[in-house]
């Protein structure tokens, strides 16, 4: 499912709303989530999951083309952990 398919599903689900509203809602939600996470604010959605930042310490890396060593600085990377309901619904083997 893509973003536009998600918008189409929400539009179909709420026929009383203007079609543009679902599109604006999806964009607003995703922008807010991206913004919060990038500012170090975690996201917790009950029944879906949580988004956090994980720390990556600085390390010596290598330029794969030239082979020269470069220091890769410390950074934070986004991490998602599925919540209980999502985990259980997705697991076809359970």
């Amino acid at each position: 499912m893509t973003k536009s398919e998600l918008i189409a599903k929400l539009t179909a689900r709420y026929p009383q709303l203007v079609a543009k509203d679902a599109e604006l809602a999806v964009k607003t939600i995703l922008d807010a989530m991206a913004k919060s996470l990038s500012q170090g604010q975690r996201i917790e959605i009950r029944g879906f999951g949580s988004f956090d930042l994980n720390y990556r310490p600085p390390r010596m890396g290598r330029n794969p083309k030239s082979g020269t060593k470069v220091e890769v600085p410390e950074k934070f990377v986004p991490h998602f952990k599925a919540g209980k309901e999502l985990r259980e619904r997705v697991d076809v083997n359970a």
């Binding site: 499912m1 893509t2 973003k3 998600l6 599903k9 929400l10 689900r13 709420y14 709303l17 509203d21 679902a22 604006l24 809602a25 999806v26 607003t28 939600i29 995703l30 807010a32 989530m33 991206a34 913004k35 919060s36 996470l37 990038s38 500012q39 170090g40 604010q41 975690r42 996201i43 917790e44 959605i45 009950r46 029944g47 879906f48 999951g49 988004f51 930042l53 950074k75 934070f76 990377v77 986004p78 991490h79 998602f80 599925a82 309901e85 999502l86 985990r87 619904r89 997705v90 697991d91 076809v92 083997n93 359970a94």
Partner: protein, 112 residues
């Protein structure tokens, strides 16, 4: 900038407040829309269909085979059953936003 009442964590209530403020949905619609947003993603994943949200990231499914495990308390060997799990891969844009924000802040700290 922080939204809503909880400052350290963004929640569904914060997202509903935003839909009320920015999209002009009423409180009821805003709450339902946030619920429906995550429900549609969850249903797609439950049906085995990955979700790609350009600019944010992709939710993918991985089938993991059974592997040997151990009860850490008793040391007893128990197999960990085969399972399907969700993985999230942040987009380049989201990763960039996280790194840019951090870089700005670490610069500010080093100048002090």
């Amino acid at each position: 900038m922080q939204y809503g009442t909880s400052t350290l964590t963004l929640t569904k209530a914060d997202l509903a407040d935003l839909l009320f403020d920015k999209v002009g949905l009423n409180k009821r619609e805003a709450k339902d829309m946030v619920e429906a947003f995550f429900d549609e993603i969850r249903s797609s994943l439950a049906d085995g269909d990955a979700v790609k949200l350009s600019g944010f990231g992709n939710f993918q499914l991985r089938d993991k085979p059974q592997r040997p495990g151990r009860n850490p308390k008793t040391g007893e060997e128990i197999p960990i059953s085969a399972r399907r799990v969700v993985t999230f891969h942040a987009s380049q844009k989201l990763k960039g936003m996280v790194e840019d924000h951090y870089a700005k802040h670490s610069q500010r700290h080093s100048q002090q």
